[in-house]
Amino acid sequence: MTATADFIPYNAVNTKSSRSFERQAEYAPEDFHDHLFELEAEGEWIVQRVPEPYVEVMTKFGRKKKIPLELTWHHKSCGQCGHIPGYSTAIFWLNRKLNFKYIDPTDQTSCTAWNYYASATSNAPAQAGVAMRNFAAAYETGYFPLIHCGTSYGHYKEVREEMMHHAEMRHQVRDVMKKLGKPLVMPEEIVHYSEWVHAVRDRIAALQTRDFSNLAVTVHPACHYYKLVQEDAIYDPDIYGGQRTATVSALIVALGAQVRDYSTWFDCCGFGFRHILVQRDFTRSFATRRKIQVMKQEANPDVVITHDTGCVTTLDKSQFVGAAHGLDVGVPVMSDAQFAALAMGAHPYRVCQLHWHSTEYRPLLEKMGIDHEKAWAEFQEDLKELKSGKKEYLTWEDVG
């Protein structure tokens, strides 16, 4: 057992290092945008530009990335919408509270990458076809795609690489798009919603109504966010000395909570794509032994915050079995979007939909100063109205 003094809060970790890294422009690698625009000039495809207003953030090797603020077409996540819909709801709620115009499309398919990585019952042109179809659907509305899932995001970055460098595949996909009556469109940037949250974190903090200064947080960065096409992820010299991705951690800092480090920070959560469905011993062992237990023992956090569907699902759902086996688990898990929403006063059930989560989260809500019993009672009233037919759906107007 470790005492409180052994926990390594983020601030102490950073200020302890006497060095600061200065990135030199001369070492910046080639910017893939050159190739993107070259192909557009050659008539190979249309590059959908990031709409203004946008915020510029820094990526791993210093390249600036454009993050749109609004006019976003929300590319939803299967696992979020299917199993933890509070995650998607929170993302939309944040957009609404910040008065940003967005579209929640029905003309959207899954990226299908979960299946691809799980079963390989697909191929590169098919995966690219699915991606391009979704991008074209966004382009047709004039709104810019914002990707909800970490795997969709990483997978689409890979598709972009393949489409840029393999002319044969690009032409094959273009032909398929023609058959669908769709143009071949590549967005100027592939943007993950957590990058958007990062870009607007100060606006979120400005609207914060709940005090998070007594909360200890461990951050789990999603593999597919920063390990696929590694140069294209957000890094910030003020966060981890620019040595680890800043996404999520920067938000936590902006909300005034304490980020605590732990020694398996870079480890995968163990989702495994097919493992979580059909080889489950791997997933639940990994999630509990390599991640949750280590976090608990080294950092004792009040909550684990992550920014991907699979990670939230894996880390949250695996803890039941862990507890049954006497492992040191029991830390609630949620997304950065839900956390930010709670900071801004969102209802834990109407907006964050925490009742879909598995690991006990009520002590966390108490620490946030939320009367969860009252909130649950309110939500029960909503359910009553829905059951009785008085109302068909809970609406945005209802949730505030």
Partner: protein, 355 residues
């Protein structure tokens, strides 16, 4: 106007040796050094012992410096940079200025030796997660040299001698992502030398070296590698570390023990990154000013390599030492001799032709 003087740019081991040799021939040399002291990297970065031979770096450099200074025909200019160059072999006009100050004087030289050397790779650009800018206990070879020279090798965050130290080889070299695909040649030898020094200075410390290959050319094998293992019990593990992260009050390093074929994570007090060589700012600046070709990695390009290791793309301009790529001290001293010889011969030939 044809000149009988050779310009030597850089006052590290290569430049000093070239200057001394030209002076020994009774010829004129101007040696310019950007810093305010001679001795190059070994002095500026407080090297302890030289690889191999274990001679004190400071003592060896002082010897070279004294030899260069002893020659009356060698004109040494400190805090001076080359800012402009025109002309051709036998007749170059080079403008020198006080470092940082544009205004200067123009000198006429017949041959130029570029000896502007290297700089160490900055670990902030590393592909793997080494946390050099997060943890003070992650250090580079240069940081280690400094501590070893003062005979005070400690865990920086605790200011106490470490119990467990490891080296990680190939940092910033042999990496396609970073773009430095080459091998920096000397780091295996230097790390092993430092490992021996640590074992000598801190006998209670366990020292590990995590490597991809151990590059122990020639006599390094029997003079450094075997003694490191056999006499000093340095542990060599084939498998490079990928992550360094704090656990408790130590650093956890994660790699694969490829011999045993399994992932491994072990705690360390100090981690030394064996950072590779890159062209120094001086090398890059001077290459452009002199108009000599640089290679893919921005070192001075040597067109004929094996048979003519000191040639550059411009006749009359020669290169010596790490400005041409990763070099060990033997290479550097040999190149300095060859470059000095070629410069002197060129200048002599031109003088005869004029007569």
């Amino acid at each position: 106007m044809t000149s009988d003087t050779t310009l030597i740019i850089g006052g590290g081991p290569a430049g000093l040796e070239a200057a001394r040799l030209i002076g020994d021939l009774g010829q004129k040399a101007i040696l310019v050094e950007k810093r305010d002291a001679l001795g190059g990297i070994p002095i500026a970065e407080h090297y302890a012992a030289l690889t191999h031979g274990f001679r004190s770096a400071e003592e060896a450099m002082n010897e070279l410096i004294a030899a260069a200074r002893a020659n009356p025909t060698v004109d040494i200019r400190l805090s001076t940079e080359v800012v402009e160059c025109s002309g051709a072999a036998g007749d170059f006009r080079v403008k020198l200025a006080k470092a940082g100050n544009g205004a200067g004087e123009t000198v006429n030289v017949g041959a130029i030796v570029v000896a502007t050397g290297f700089q160490h790779f900055d670990p902030g650009r590393e592909t793997q997660m080494y946390g050099y800018y997060e943890y003070d206990d992650v250090i580079t070879l240069a940081d280690a040299e400094k501590m070893l020279k003062e005979n005070k090798f400690v865990t920086p965050s605790k200011d106490m001698p470490p119990e467990r130290v490891c080296f990680i080889q190939c940092v910033g070299s042999r990496d396609r992502q970073i773009g430095n695909e080459y091998c920096s040649k000397v780091c295996c030898g230097i790390s092993s030398k430092q490992a021996i020094e640590i074992r000598q200075q801190v006998p209670g410390a366990k020292v590990f070296i995590f490597y991809i290959d151990m590059r122990m050319y020639g006599y390094w094998e029997n003079e450094i590698y075997w003694p490191a293992q056999e006499k000093y019990h340095v542990q060599y593990v084939k498998g490079i570390i990928t992550e360094i992260i704090r656990k408790g009050d130590r650093l956890l390093v994660r790699g694969e023990d490829t011999t045993m074929g399994r992932p491994m994570e072990v705690p360390m007090d100090v981690v030394v990154l064996a950072v590779g060589m890159e062209p120094s700012k001086g090398t890059k600046d001077v290459a452009k000013i002199l108009g000599v070709k640089q290679n893919k990695y921005n070192f001075i390009d040597v067109p004929h390599d094996a048979l003519d290791p000191t040639a550059t793309s411009a006749p009359g301009i020669f290169v010596a030492g790490a400005a041409a790529g990763p070099k060990d001290l033997d290479d550097t001293m040999s190149m300095a001799g060859a470059a000095a010889m070629k410069a002197a011969a060129l200048v002599t030939k031109k003088a005869r032709a004029m007569a």
